[in-house]
Symmetry: C2
Subunit: 267 residues, 2 copies
Protein backbone atom coordinates (compact mmCIF):
# COMPACT_ATOMS: atom_id res chain seq x y z
CA UNK A 1 0.00 0.00 0.00
CA UNK A 2 1.47 3.33 -0.99
CA UNK A 3 1.72 6.11 1.57
CA UNK A 4 1.55 9.86 1.08
CA UNK A 5 2.39 12.94 3.11
CA UNK A 6 0.83 16.23 2.09
CA UNK A 7 2.76 19.45 2.67
CA UNK A 8 0.59 22.53 2.26
CA UNK A 9 2.52 25.77 1.86
CA UNK A 10 1.09 29.23 2.31
CA UNK A 11 0.70 31.96 4.93
CA UNK A 12 -3.01 32.20 4.03
CA UNK A 13 -3.48 28.79 5.71
CA UNK A 14 -1.58 29.79 8.86
CA UNK A 15 -3.65 32.95 9.33
CA UNK A 16 -6.92 31.06 8.89
CA UNK A 17 -7.84 33.01 5.76
CA UNK A 18 -8.95 29.78 4.11
CA UNK A 19 -9.53 26.17 5.15
CA UNK A 20 -7.09 23.65 3.75
CA UNK A 21 -9.44 22.33 1.07
CA UNK A 22 -6.51 21.41 -1.19
CA UNK A 23 -5.32 18.90 1.39
CA UNK A 24 -8.85 17.58 1.82
CA UNK A 25 -9.23 17.08 -1.93
CA UNK A 26 -5.89 15.31 -2.26
CA UNK A 27 -6.47 13.16 0.83
CA UNK A 28 -9.87 12.04 -0.42
CA UNK A 29 -8.55 11.20 -3.88
CA UNK A 30 -5.53 9.34 -2.51
CA UNK A 31 -7.77 7.21 -0.30
CA UNK A 32 -10.11 6.52 -3.23
CA UNK A 33 -7.06 5.38 -5.18
CA UNK A 34 -6.16 2.90 -2.41
CA UNK A 35 -3.37 4.88 -0.75
CA UNK A 36 -2.92 6.07 2.80
CA UNK A 37 -2.24 9.63 3.91
CA UNK A 38 0.02 9.53 6.96
CA UNK A 39 0.41 13.19 7.74
CA UNK A 40 -0.62 16.64 6.56
CA UNK A 41 1.67 19.53 7.44
CA UNK A 42 1.03 23.22 6.86
CA UNK A 43 3.88 25.73 6.89
CA UNK A 44 4.14 29.35 5.75
CA UNK A 45 5.94 30.85 2.79
CA UNK A 46 9.28 30.48 4.50
CA UNK A 47 12.37 28.80 3.09
CA UNK A 48 13.60 27.32 6.38
CA UNK A 49 10.16 26.06 7.42
CA UNK A 50 9.61 24.37 4.06
CA UNK A 51 13.07 22.81 4.06
CA UNK A 52 12.70 21.45 7.59
CA UNK A 53 9.20 20.09 6.90
CA UNK A 54 10.44 18.31 3.76
CA UNK A 55 13.45 16.91 5.63
CA UNK A 56 11.26 15.60 8.48
CA UNK A 57 8.82 14.08 6.03
CA UNK A 58 11.58 12.32 4.05
CA UNK A 59 12.83 10.72 7.28
CA UNK A 60 9.48 8.97 7.59
CA UNK A 61 9.96 7.56 4.07
CA UNK A 62 6.47 7.93 2.58
CA UNK A 63 6.08 6.66 -1.00
CA UNK A 64 5.09 10.19 -2.05
CA UNK A 65 5.23 13.73 -0.76
CA UNK A 66 2.77 16.06 -2.45
CA UNK A 67 3.27 19.75 -1.83
CA UNK A 68 0.80 22.48 -2.78
CA UNK A 69 1.50 26.19 -3.13
CA UNK A 70 4.52 28.41 -3.54
CA UNK A 71 5.34 27.80 -7.22
CA UNK A 72 4.32 31.21 -8.57
CA UNK A 73 6.28 34.28 -9.66
CA UNK A 74 6.31 36.29 -6.42
CA UNK A 75 9.31 36.55 -4.08
CA UNK A 76 7.54 34.46 -1.41
CA UNK A 77 6.91 31.50 -3.73
CA UNK A 78 9.83 29.52 -2.31
CA UNK A 79 8.65 25.90 -2.36
CA UNK A 80 11.22 24.73 -4.92
CA UNK A 81 14.04 26.53 -3.14
CA UNK A 82 12.88 24.87 0.10
CA UNK A 83 12.81 21.40 -1.45
CA UNK A 84 16.23 22.06 -2.98
CA UNK A 85 17.62 23.08 0.39
CA UNK A 86 16.16 19.99 2.08
CA UNK A 87 17.84 17.74 -0.47
CA UNK A 88 21.07 19.70 -0.88
CA UNK A 89 20.24 20.32 -4.55
CA UNK A 90 21.19 23.45 -6.43
CA UNK A 91 18.38 25.46 -8.05
CA UNK A 92 19.03 25.73 -11.77
CA UNK A 93 17.24 27.00 -14.85
CA UNK A 94 15.36 24.05 -16.33
CA UNK A 95 15.19 24.44 -20.11
CA UNK A 96 12.07 22.33 -20.49
CA UNK A 97 10.28 24.31 -17.78
CA UNK A 98 11.41 27.56 -19.37
CA UNK A 99 9.89 26.42 -22.66
CA UNK A 100 6.57 25.78 -20.89
CA UNK A 101 6.61 29.20 -19.24
CA UNK A 102 7.59 30.90 -22.52
CA UNK A 103 4.72 29.29 -24.40
CA UNK A 104 2.26 30.39 -21.71
CA UNK A 105 3.34 34.03 -21.91
CA UNK A 106 3.42 34.01 -25.70
CA UNK A 107 -0.19 32.77 -25.70
CA UNK A 108 -1.12 35.31 -23.02
CA UNK A 109 0.59 38.12 -25.00
CA UNK A 110 -1.47 37.24 -28.07
CA UNK A 111 -4.66 37.06 -26.04
CA UNK A 112 -4.08 40.45 -24.43
CA UNK A 113 -2.58 42.11 -27.51
CA UNK A 114 0.41 43.28 -25.48
CA UNK A 115 3.86 41.78 -25.20
CA UNK A 116 4.59 40.06 -21.88
CA UNK A 117 8.38 39.73 -21.66
CA UNK A 118 10.21 36.96 -19.85
CA UNK A 119 10.89 39.05 -16.75
CA UNK A 120 12.97 37.62 -13.84
CA UNK A 121 9.69 36.94 -11.95
CA UNK A 122 8.50 34.76 -14.85
CA UNK A 123 11.82 33.01 -15.41
CA UNK A 124 11.81 32.20 -11.69
CA UNK A 125 9.00 29.68 -12.34
CA UNK A 126 11.47 27.66 -14.45
CA UNK A 127 14.13 27.58 -11.70
CA UNK A 128 13.97 23.98 -10.45
CA UNK A 129 16.08 21.81 -8.15
CA UNK A 130 18.71 19.95 -10.18
CA UNK A 131 17.37 16.66 -11.61
CA UNK A 132 13.75 17.73 -11.16
CA UNK A 133 11.28 17.26 -14.03
CA UNK A 134 8.70 19.92 -14.88
CA UNK A 135 5.07 18.88 -15.40
CA UNK A 136 2.93 20.90 -17.78
CA UNK A 137 0.30 23.06 -16.06
CA UNK A 138 -2.78 22.91 -18.32
CA UNK A 139 -4.50 25.77 -16.50
CA UNK A 140 -1.98 28.26 -15.10
CA UNK A 141 1.55 29.40 -15.82
CA UNK A 142 3.77 27.75 -13.19
CA UNK A 143 4.81 24.18 -14.12
CA UNK A 144 4.42 21.52 -11.45
CA UNK A 145 7.54 19.57 -10.50
CA UNK A 146 8.50 15.94 -9.95
CA UNK A 147 11.62 14.97 -8.07
CA UNK A 148 12.75 11.46 -7.14
CA UNK A 149 14.73 10.62 -4.05
CA UNK A 150 15.88 7.13 -2.99
CA UNK A 151 12.74 6.37 -1.01
CA UNK A 152 10.20 8.98 -2.01
CA UNK A 153 8.82 10.72 -5.07
CA UNK A 154 8.07 14.38 -4.47
CA UNK A 155 5.39 16.17 -6.49
CA UNK A 156 5.17 19.95 -6.12
CA UNK A 157 1.79 21.29 -7.26
CA UNK A 158 0.50 24.86 -7.51
CA UNK A 159 -1.74 26.16 -4.75
CA UNK A 160 -4.51 27.52 -6.98
CA UNK A 161 -7.17 24.82 -6.56
CA UNK A 162 -8.17 24.32 -10.19
CA UNK A 163 -4.53 24.13 -11.29
CA UNK A 164 -3.69 21.70 -8.47
CA UNK A 165 -6.67 19.48 -9.34
CA UNK A 166 -6.02 19.49 -13.08
CA UNK A 167 -2.39 18.39 -12.66
CA UNK A 168 -3.24 15.81 -10.01
CA UNK A 169 -6.00 14.25 -12.11
CA UNK A 170 -4.18 14.32 -15.44
CA UNK A 171 -0.74 13.34 -14.34
CA UNK A 172 -0.52 11.89 -10.83
CA UNK A 173 -3.80 9.99 -10.29
CA UNK A 174 -3.14 7.58 -13.22
CA UNK A 175 0.29 6.77 -11.78
CA UNK A 176 -1.16 6.12 -8.31
CA UNK A 177 -3.96 3.97 -9.78
CA UNK A 178 -1.35 1.94 -11.64
CA UNK A 179 0.76 1.12 -8.58
CA UNK A 180 -2.18 0.73 -6.17
CA UNK A 181 -2.72 -2.71 -4.62
CA UNK A 182 -5.66 -1.79 -2.39
CA UNK A 183 -9.34 -0.89 -2.68
CA UNK A 184 -10.97 1.47 -0.19
CA UNK A 185 -14.65 1.19 0.73
CA UNK A 186 -16.77 2.91 3.36
CA UNK A 187 -20.23 2.88 4.86
CA UNK A 188 -22.15 5.09 7.28
CA UNK A 189 -24.58 4.28 10.08
CA UNK A 190 -26.46 6.91 12.04
CA UNK A 191 -27.41 6.08 15.60
CA UNK A 192 -29.78 7.68 18.05
CA UNK A 193 -30.56 6.79 21.63
CA UNK A 194 -27.07 5.73 22.72
CA UNK A 195 -24.26 8.06 23.88
CA UNK A 196 -20.84 7.64 22.29
CA UNK A 197 -19.46 6.22 25.53
CA UNK A 198 -21.97 3.35 25.37
CA UNK A 199 -21.00 2.61 21.79
CA UNK A 200 -17.27 2.56 22.57
CA UNK A 201 -17.04 -1.08 23.76
CA UNK A 202 -19.26 -2.23 20.86
CA UNK A 203 -16.95 -0.65 18.29
CA UNK A 204 -13.92 -2.18 19.91
CA UNK A 205 -15.53 -5.62 19.80
CA UNK A 206 -16.52 -5.15 16.14
CA UNK A 207 -12.96 -4.32 15.19
CA UNK A 208 -11.66 -7.35 17.09
CA UNK A 209 -14.19 -9.54 15.23
CA UNK A 210 -13.47 -7.96 11.80
CA UNK A 211 -9.83 -6.97 12.03
CA UNK A 212 -9.75 -5.43 8.55
CA UNK A 213 -12.34 -2.78 9.26
CA UNK A 214 -11.96 0.51 11.06
CA UNK A 215 -14.91 2.16 12.77
CA UNK A 216 -14.88 5.74 13.91
CA UNK A 217 -17.71 7.46 15.77
CA UNK A 218 -18.53 11.14 15.38
CA UNK A 219 -21.05 12.86 17.66
CA UNK A 220 -23.33 15.10 15.58
CA UNK A 221 -26.03 17.65 16.23
CA UNK A 222 -28.56 18.19 13.43
CA UNK A 223 -31.81 20.12 13.66
CA UNK A 224 -31.48 20.15 17.42
CA UNK A 225 -31.26 16.36 17.66
CA UNK A 226 -28.04 14.65 18.59
CA UNK A 227 -26.94 11.40 16.99
CA UNK A 228 -23.75 9.46 16.45
CA UNK A 229 -22.39 9.00 12.96
CA UNK A 230 -20.47 5.75 12.54
CA UNK A 231 -18.01 5.67 9.67
CA UNK A 232 -16.98 2.12 8.77
CA UNK A 233 -14.02 1.83 6.42
CA UNK A 234 -11.89 -0.93 4.93
CA UNK A 235 -8.83 -1.29 2.74
CA UNK A 236 -8.67 -4.63 0.98
CA UNK A 237 -6.95 -6.39 -1.93
CA UNK A 238 -10.11 -6.64 -4.03
CA UNK A 239 -13.46 -4.91 -4.29
CA UNK A 240 -15.34 -8.20 -3.74
CA UNK A 241 -13.44 -8.98 -0.58
CA UNK A 242 -13.84 -5.44 0.72
CA UNK A 243 -17.59 -5.47 0.05
CA UNK A 244 -18.20 -8.81 1.69
CA UNK A 245 -16.26 -7.97 4.88
CA UNK A 246 -17.79 -4.50 5.05
CA UNK A 247 -21.33 -5.89 4.72
CA UNK A 248 -20.77 -8.53 7.37
CA UNK A 249 -19.25 -6.01 9.78
CA UNK A 250 -22.08 -3.53 9.17
CA UNK A 251 -24.72 -6.19 9.87
CA UNK A 252 -22.89 -7.21 13.04
CA UNK A 253 -22.76 -3.58 14.22
CA UNK A 254 -26.44 -2.95 13.47
CA UNK A 255 -27.51 -6.04 15.35
CA UNK A 256 -25.34 -5.35 18.40
CA UNK A 257 -26.28 -1.68 18.59
CA UNK A 258 -30.01 -2.44 18.34
CA UNK A 259 -29.69 -5.02 21.12
CA UNK A 260 -28.28 -2.26 23.34
CA UNK A 261 -31.23 0.03 22.56
CA UNK A 262 -29.76 2.13 19.77
CA UNK A 263 -31.93 3.25 16.85
CA UNK A 264 -30.25 2.94 13.49
CA UNK A 265 -30.76 4.74 10.23
CA UNK A 266 -28.68 4.12 7.15
CA UNK A 267 -28.56 7.10 4.80
CA UNK B 1 4.75 37.99 20.13
CA UNK B 2 3.38 34.63 21.17
CA UNK B 3 3.61 31.68 18.78
CA UNK B 4 1.29 28.71 18.40
CA UNK B 5 1.44 25.33 16.72
CA UNK B 6 -1.83 23.55 16.02
CA UNK B 7 -1.93 19.76 16.10
CA UNK B 8 -5.12 18.35 14.59
CA UNK B 9 -5.77 14.73 15.45
CA UNK B 10 -8.18 12.43 13.61
CA UNK B 11 -8.30 9.88 10.80
CA UNK B 12 -11.29 11.75 9.33
CA UNK B 13 -8.88 14.55 8.35
CA UNK B 14 -6.36 12.17 6.76
CA UNK B 15 -9.00 10.50 4.59
CA UNK B 16 -10.38 13.83 3.41
CA UNK B 17 -13.77 13.24 4.99
CA UNK B 18 -13.77 16.80 6.26
CA UNK B 19 -11.70 19.95 5.76
CA UNK B 20 -9.67 21.08 8.73
CA UNK B 21 -12.04 23.86 9.73
CA UNK B 22 -11.03 23.56 13.40
CA UNK B 23 -7.48 24.58 12.50
CA UNK B 24 -8.80 27.42 10.35
CA UNK B 25 -10.97 28.71 13.19
CA UNK B 26 -8.13 28.55 15.71
CA UNK B 27 -5.60 30.08 13.31
CA UNK B 28 -7.91 32.98 12.53
CA UNK B 29 -8.67 33.65 16.21
CA UNK B 30 -5.00 33.43 17.22
CA UNK B 31 -4.05 35.96 14.54
CA UNK B 32 -6.88 38.27 15.63
CA UNK B 33 -5.50 38.02 19.16
CA UNK B 34 -2.06 39.13 17.92
CA UNK B 35 -0.33 35.73 17.89
CA UNK B 36 1.42 33.87 15.13
CA UNK B 37 0.67 30.32 14.00
CA UNK B 38 3.92 28.72 12.92
CA UNK B 39 2.75 25.28 11.84
CA UNK B 40 -0.36 23.13 11.56
CA UNK B 41 0.12 19.36 11.67
CA UNK B 42 -2.52 16.69 11.08
CA UNK B 43 -1.99 13.12 12.27
CA UNK B 44 -4.32 10.16 12.63
CA UNK B 45 -5.67 8.51 15.77
CA UNK B 46 -2.37 6.81 16.42
CA UNK B 47 -0.38 6.89 19.64
CA UNK B 48 3.09 6.91 18.02
CA UNK B 49 2.16 9.53 15.43
CA UNK B 50 0.70 11.84 18.08
CA UNK B 51 3.69 11.38 20.39
CA UNK B 52 6.21 12.07 17.62
CA UNK B 53 4.28 15.12 16.37
CA UNK B 54 4.15 16.55 19.92
CA UNK B 55 7.86 15.87 20.43
CA UNK B 56 8.80 17.57 17.15
CA UNK B 57 6.60 20.53 17.95
CA UNK B 58 8.11 20.96 21.44
CA UNK B 59 11.59 21.07 19.90
CA UNK B 60 10.54 24.20 18.02
CA UNK B 61 9.53 25.78 21.37
CA UNK B 62 6.26 27.53 20.42
CA UNK B 63 4.59 29.46 23.27
CA UNK B 64 1.55 27.20 22.87
CA UNK B 65 0.58 23.91 21.29
CA UNK B 66 -3.17 23.54 20.78
CA UNK B 67 -4.38 20.06 19.90
CA UNK B 68 -7.89 19.21 18.73
CA UNK B 69 -9.52 15.79 18.72
CA UNK B 70 -9.00 12.45 20.40
CA UNK B 71 -10.32 13.21 23.90
CA UNK B 72 -13.48 11.08 23.76
CA UNK B 73 -14.45 7.72 25.21
CA UNK B 74 -13.56 5.42 22.29
CA UNK B 75 -10.43 3.26 22.13
CA UNK B 76 -8.94 5.43 19.36
CA UNK B 77 -9.18 8.66 21.37
CA UNK B 78 -5.51 8.58 22.32
CA UNK B 79 -4.42 12.22 22.34
CA UNK B 80 -3.68 12.36 26.07
CA UNK B 81 -1.79 9.07 25.97
CA UNK B 82 0.22 10.47 23.03
CA UNK B 83 1.04 13.71 24.87
CA UNK B 84 1.96 11.68 27.94
CA UNK B 85 4.29 9.50 25.90
CA UNK B 86 5.93 12.53 24.25
CA UNK B 87 6.66 14.04 27.67
CA UNK B 88 7.44 10.83 29.53
CA UNK B 89 4.47 11.39 31.84
CA UNK B 90 2.37 8.62 33.31
CA UNK B 91 -1.37 8.65 32.59
CA UNK B 92 -3.26 8.78 35.86
CA UNK B 93 -6.82 9.19 37.03
CA UNK B 94 -7.35 12.89 37.66
CA UNK B 95 -9.88 13.34 40.48
CA UNK B 96 -10.99 16.79 39.35
CA UNK B 97 -11.56 15.54 35.79
CA UNK B 98 -13.43 12.52 37.13
CA UNK B 99 -15.71 14.85 39.06
CA UNK B 100 -16.46 16.76 35.85
CA UNK B 101 -17.23 13.57 33.93
CA UNK B 102 -19.39 12.23 36.79
CA UNK B 103 -21.46 15.40 36.90
CA UNK B 104 -22.03 15.22 33.15
CA UNK B 105 -23.33 11.65 33.28
CA UNK B 106 -25.47 12.34 36.33
CA UNK B 107 -27.12 15.20 34.45
CA UNK B 108 -27.46 13.06 31.32
CA UNK B 109 -28.96 10.20 33.38
CA UNK B 110 -31.60 12.53 34.79
CA UNK B 111 -32.35 13.95 31.35
CA UNK B 112 -32.80 10.50 29.80
CA UNK B 113 -34.48 8.91 32.82
CA UNK B 114 -32.00 6.03 32.70
CA UNK B 115 -28.87 5.49 34.76
CA UNK B 116 -25.61 5.94 32.87
CA UNK B 117 -22.92 4.23 34.96
CA UNK B 118 -19.28 5.31 35.09
CA UNK B 119 -18.09 2.64 32.63
CA UNK B 120 -14.38 2.26 31.79
CA UNK B 121 -14.98 4.16 28.50
CA UNK B 122 -16.32 7.12 30.52
CA UNK B 123 -13.66 6.99 33.23
CA UNK B 124 -11.07 7.03 30.40
CA UNK B 125 -11.95 10.69 29.76
CA UNK B 126 -10.58 11.50 33.23
CA UNK B 127 -7.25 9.72 32.64
CA UNK B 128 -4.79 12.60 32.20
CA UNK B 129 -1.02 12.92 32.00
CA UNK B 130 0.42 13.51 35.47
CA UNK B 131 0.41 17.23 36.44
CA UNK B 132 -2.16 18.07 33.76
CA UNK B 133 -5.15 20.27 34.68
CA UNK B 134 -8.62 19.51 33.39
CA UNK B 135 -10.68 22.33 31.86
CA UNK B 136 -14.45 22.16 32.14
CA UNK B 137 -16.22 21.39 28.84
CA UNK B 138 -19.39 23.50 28.87
CA UNK B 139 -20.91 21.65 25.91
CA UNK B 140 -19.76 18.00 25.82
CA UNK B 141 -18.52 15.38 28.23
CA UNK B 142 -14.74 15.15 27.73
CA UNK B 143 -12.81 17.78 29.73
CA UNK B 144 -10.15 19.73 27.87
CA UNK B 145 -6.64 19.59 29.30
CA UNK B 146 -3.86 22.06 30.09
CA UNK B 147 -0.29 20.93 30.59
CA UNK B 148 2.77 23.14 31.16
CA UNK B 149 6.27 22.27 30.00
CA UNK B 150 9.37 24.43 30.47
CA UNK B 151 8.95 26.30 27.19
CA UNK B 152 5.42 25.60 26.04
CA UNK B 153 1.87 25.40 27.37
CA UNK B 154 -0.12 22.58 25.76
CA UNK B 155 -3.91 22.83 25.47
CA UNK B 156 -5.75 19.69 24.37
CA UNK B 157 -9.24 20.51 23.06
CA UNK B 158 -12.04 18.22 21.87
CA UNK B 159 -12.51 17.76 18.11
CA UNK B 160 -16.25 18.44 18.04
CA UNK B 161 -16.29 22.01 16.65
CA UNK B 162 -18.80 23.59 19.03
CA UNK B 163 -17.02 22.08 22.07
CA UNK B 164 -13.62 23.19 20.76
CA UNK B 165 -14.86 26.73 20.11
CA UNK B 166 -16.64 27.06 23.46
CA UNK B 167 -13.55 26.06 25.41
CA UNK B 168 -11.22 28.18 23.29
CA UNK B 169 -13.38 31.28 23.66
CA UNK B 170 -14.22 30.89 27.33
CA UNK B 171 -10.91 29.75 28.64
CA UNK B 172 -7.98 30.22 26.25
CA UNK B 173 -8.77 33.40 24.26
CA UNK B 174 -8.82 35.62 27.40
CA UNK B 175 -5.40 34.28 28.41
CA UNK B 176 -3.96 34.94 24.93
CA UNK B 177 -5.49 38.44 24.86
CA UNK B 178 -3.89 39.15 28.24
CA UNK B 179 -0.34 38.22 27.17
CA UNK B 180 -0.61 39.61 23.63
CA UNK B 181 1.70 42.50 22.71
CA UNK B 182 0.67 42.83 19.05
CA UNK B 183 -2.28 44.03 16.99
CA UNK B 184 -3.07 42.43 13.63
CA UNK B 185 -4.73 44.38 10.82
CA UNK B 186 -5.41 43.55 7.18
CA UNK B 187 -6.73 45.08 3.97
CA UNK B 188 -7.65 43.76 0.54
CA UNK B 189 -7.14 45.17 -2.94
CA UNK B 190 -8.54 43.55 -6.08
CA UNK B 191 -6.65 44.09 -9.30
CA UNK B 192 -7.55 43.52 -12.91
CA UNK B 193 -5.49 43.97 -16.04
CA UNK B 194 -2.10 42.87 -14.68
CA UNK B 195 -0.86 39.27 -14.37
CA UNK B 196 0.62 38.16 -11.04
CA UNK B 197 4.08 38.04 -12.55
CA UNK B 198 3.87 41.77 -13.38
CA UNK B 199 2.77 42.55 -9.83
CA UNK B 200 5.61 40.55 -8.26
CA UNK B 201 8.32 43.28 -8.42
CA UNK B 202 5.81 45.91 -7.23
CA UNK B 203 4.97 43.88 -4.12
CA UNK B 204 8.62 43.33 -3.35
CA UNK B 205 9.28 47.05 -3.58
CA UNK B 206 6.29 47.83 -1.35
CA UNK B 207 7.58 45.49 1.33
CA UNK B 208 11.05 47.03 1.12
CA UNK B 209 9.49 50.50 1.52
CA UNK B 210 7.15 49.46 4.35
CA UNK B 211 9.07 46.70 6.12
CA UNK B 212 6.31 46.00 8.66
CA UNK B 213 3.72 44.98 6.10
CA UNK B 214 3.32 41.68 4.30
CA UNK B 215 1.60 41.49 0.92
CA UNK B 216 0.46 38.24 -0.61
CA UNK B 217 -1.13 37.93 -4.04
CA UNK B 218 -3.78 35.33 -4.87
CA UNK B 219 -4.94 34.75 -8.46
CA UNK B 220 -8.74 34.44 -8.51
CA UNK B 221 -11.38 33.55 -11.05
CA UNK B 222 -14.90 34.91 -10.39
CA UNK B 223 -17.81 34.93 -12.80
CA UNK B 224 -15.43 34.03 -15.60
CA UNK B 225 -13.19 37.05 -14.98
CA UNK B 226 -9.73 36.66 -13.55
CA UNK B 227 -8.28 39.10 -11.08
CA UNK B 228 -5.57 39.22 -8.45
CA UNK B 229 -6.50 39.55 -4.82
CA UNK B 230 -3.87 41.36 -2.77
CA UNK B 231 -3.94 40.70 0.95
CA UNK B 232 -1.99 43.32 2.90
CA UNK B 233 -1.34 42.48 6.55
CA UNK B 234 0.54 43.98 9.47
CA UNK B 235 1.39 43.11 13.05
CA UNK B 236 2.19 46.15 15.15
CA UNK B 237 2.48 47.29 18.77
CA UNK B 238 -0.61 49.50 18.63
CA UNK B 239 -3.75 49.82 16.58
CA UNK B 240 -2.96 53.43 15.66
CA UNK B 241 0.49 52.55 14.39
CA UNK B 242 -0.82 49.53 12.48
CA UNK B 243 -3.55 51.59 10.82
CA UNK B 244 -1.29 54.43 9.79
CA UNK B 245 1.36 52.14 8.24
CA UNK B 246 -1.29 49.97 6.57
CA UNK B 247 -3.01 53.00 5.03
CA UNK B 248 0.24 54.46 3.73
CA UNK B 249 1.30 51.12 2.25
CA UNK B 250 -2.10 50.60 0.63
CA UNK B 251 -2.00 54.06 -0.96
CA UNK B 252 1.51 53.39 -2.24
CA UNK B 253 0.42 50.07 -3.75
CA UNK B 254 -2.66 51.58 -5.42
CA UNK B 255 -0.65 54.37 -6.97
CA UNK B 256 2.15 52.12 -8.23
CA UNK B 257 -0.22 49.48 -9.62
CA UNK B 258 -2.33 52.07 -11.43
CA UNK B 259 0.80 53.56 -12.96
CA UNK B 260 1.57 50.12 -14.44
CA UNK B 261 -1.92 49.86 -15.94
CA UNK B 262 -3.68 47.85 -13.25
CA UNK B 263 -7.33 48.57 -12.42
CA UNK B 264 -8.06 48.55 -8.71
CA UNK B 265 -11.21 47.94 -6.77
CA UNK B 266 -11.37 47.96 -2.99
CA UNK B 267 -14.23 45.82 -1.61
Amino acid sequence: MFTVEILSIGNELLIGKIANTNAQYLARRIVELGGKVIRIVVVGDDLDEIASAVRESLQRKPSFIITTGGLGPTFDDVTLAGIGRALGLEIVLNEEALKMVKEKYEALSKERGTILELTPARVKMAMLPKNAEPIRNPVGTAPAVKLKTDSTVIYALPGVPNEMKAIFEEYIAPILAEISDRVFLERYLFIEGLPESSLAPILEEAMATYPHIYVKSHPRMEEGRSHIELHITIYSESKDKAESILSAATEYLKKTIEEKGGIISER
